[in-house]
Symmetry: C2
Subunit: 437 residues, 2 copies
Amino acid sequence: MALAQLNNPTCSKTQLHSSQLSFLSRTLPKQYHCTFAPLHRTQHGRITCSVAPNQVKAPAVQSQDPKSKPDCYGVFCLTYDLKAEEETKSWKKLINIAVSGAAGMISNHLLFKLASGEVFGPNQPIALKLLGSERSFQALEGVAMELEDSLFPLLREVVISIDPYEVFQDAEWALLIGAKPRGPGVERAALLDINGQIFAEQGKALNAVASRNVKVIVVGNPCNTNALICLKNAPNIPAKNFHALTRLDENRAKCQLALKAGVFYDKVSNMTIWGNHSTTQVPDFLNARIDGLPVKEVIKDQKWLEEEFTEKVQKRGGVLIQKWGRSSAASTSVSIVDAIRSLITPTPEGDWFSTGVYTAGNPYGIAEDIVFSMPCRSKANGDYELVKDVIFDDYLRQKLAKTEAELLAEKKCVAHLTGEGIAVCDLPGDTMLPGEM
Amino acid sequence: MALAQLNNPTCSKTQLHSSQLSFLSRTLPKQYHCTFAPLHRTQHGRITCSVAPNQVKAPAVQSQDPKSKPDCYGVFCLTYDLKAEEETKSWKKLINIAVSGAAGMISNHLLFKLASGEVFGPNQPIALKLLGSERSFQALEGVAMELEDSLFPLLREVVISIDPYEVFQDAEWALLIGAKPRGPGVERAALLDINGQIFAEQGKALNAVASRNVKVIVVGNPCNTNALICLKNAPNIPAKNFHALTRLDENRAKCQLALKAGVFYDKVSNMTIWGNHSTTQVPDFLNARIDGLPVKEVIKDQKWLEEEFTEKVQKRGGVLIQKWGRSSAASTSVSIVDAIRSLITPTPEGDWFSTGVYTAGNPYGIAEDIVFSMPCRSKANGDYELVKDVIFDDYLRQKLAKTEAELLAEKKCVAHLTGEGIAVCDLPGDTMLPGEM
């Protein structure tokens, strides 16, 4: 490769692996101003230049140091002075959003929502840092191309990489979606170990390079214990900042109560999912409300509430797979958006939302030092506080004990990944949700 | 089936085919107030009731006549008095949006965008009427379930059906995405005929039951000629209201010019795609502008503009399929949103957008009576006018003649579907876009 070829504002790569890009960006002299865009009809494995300087009238765009954006993609490799332009000078500072499993179906919905501005608002420019695997790297390029073709004004950077240390650099949000799905015959303990290792590595990377106040939402399953592993490997980031996604369960629970009561789902509030994102999860109909009234005053069928309701929520994912032939990527991504919005907008008066968070100092008597879904409120600062005015009865206590026991058993099973000694796996029956199998 | 079972506010169906639902809704006495929601654990093929009246405290929701919503889905079968509630009384009147191919991947992105409010705004309640095929009906139920689980406040009705006369009833927008993909060895003429028949039927259905001012966007390929067939079969709807989607081509063309010029894509304006959504399409670099300047003043590489640029735009879909393993559903759905927004928001001063429209009375000298992509402006009323101040040179004229000839040949090939006599198929070389093959 002749370095002379690189001496221009926009260069292109084809069939180059991320590690090659990484190598190039680290080894090129700083004065070679090159970005890596796909040029689909050039030679394989070669850097070629698509623009010679004299052909281009210099536009009002700042030049860019490739070392600061190692695996940026195409048009997103440009650096902008947003303050210099009329339309963008009122915009907030760019935020870095890292997404793992970025070539998967959930991300394929989520990334376009993030880029469109519907999550963080119309004045918030976005950098998307996409983490994939070696196997998925070409698909990741495809995702970046589709993001280019979507012309989202707020999307100002896209980085694709297989290196979490690159992707998590200065991340203010880390949406950890990627995890190995459970293959046939794989024991649950084995899955906990395989995925746990991924989340231990990602925790270390977050600890090393992410913003000190990064908010982490773990979606990859088993998400509660993955979140625990992740936070244990990131001691310099507040444990409070790690979430396990139970928002889809909450949304499904609201919908099922609405269906049963014959009301629109916007009438259901105060819905808590307690515990693990598994079949031991507890959708709480004791504290939930319909049109402001306790659920039990509206739905008088106690047997349905105790026996069918919870099962309906748990089994929803499995039914969807049967109907639709694949898991529920679209509604999962909607629930991730809901989870983010709940942390950056004030919670409506008297209501709350559910998220799996670290249990240290919880007022409910739940075991400390696990990640457990609980009712929360936010003041729109990215932070949350646990709701105090919830009630318990024997039924709810008994259900909470079961999901708590499961999470404690999962914790023992991944002790080798949380720095707490030798793992002992004595898991209760198989409680993975159908969508995760 | 005992009719007594149906005498309650919410009923459920499992494994019932749309035609059965249709039959039920037509044959049940009006006083049987029943909606069709999925109950996943009941007997097959049987209507059962999930709520007995005495178990439910009547919520503030109006009752519903099943005849008016034959195949409504689950929680979306409720009827609301939006004017009666504080949060919704300022909302606009509900609009009906029909989507064909609703179980496919493009729709799987698009429906959630429509339902979220990002297309029609936060005060516009939405009814989604989903058209699928017998084969895809279960998947359609899955889509409806995911829409339920997403709790979109603005989404107030979902209907799933395989009958276009049901789905297009009072539709104000019809987004026609469904079409048979081209199998191996299928001649282009055969594809024109197979898909043409679908669009002839849908045109007749629109003519019979849709809003008299319905806006129709044809996405299913070959979209220009499908749109022509559709409008010819809908003589009572203005031909002007039918569009063939070329917006993804426009977006891709903008991105490629931006990449070449080393500017962000928001600097590229006045981008016309002329003609057919095929490889004969003409991305117009003569009239397009970068940062307000003619493209040729910014990108001085005329050879690249004439030879590589057009090919890059055309081949983008094929490259994406190679990278990503499937066609570009996400960016296609973004471009459909762009196409709708361009008709309901005022076009920025001095700019325009491209859409394939009926050529009657065009000022460019393009043959009348075909659907041809041209530059348009809108006053935000759903309507558009053609842009007059565009320039032509010999290169552009020659390209326009080629794509025009193709569309005229396609038109002759579907004469049996447009009521214009006997079809004569003498198509030029194969010009389907890679994404469509």
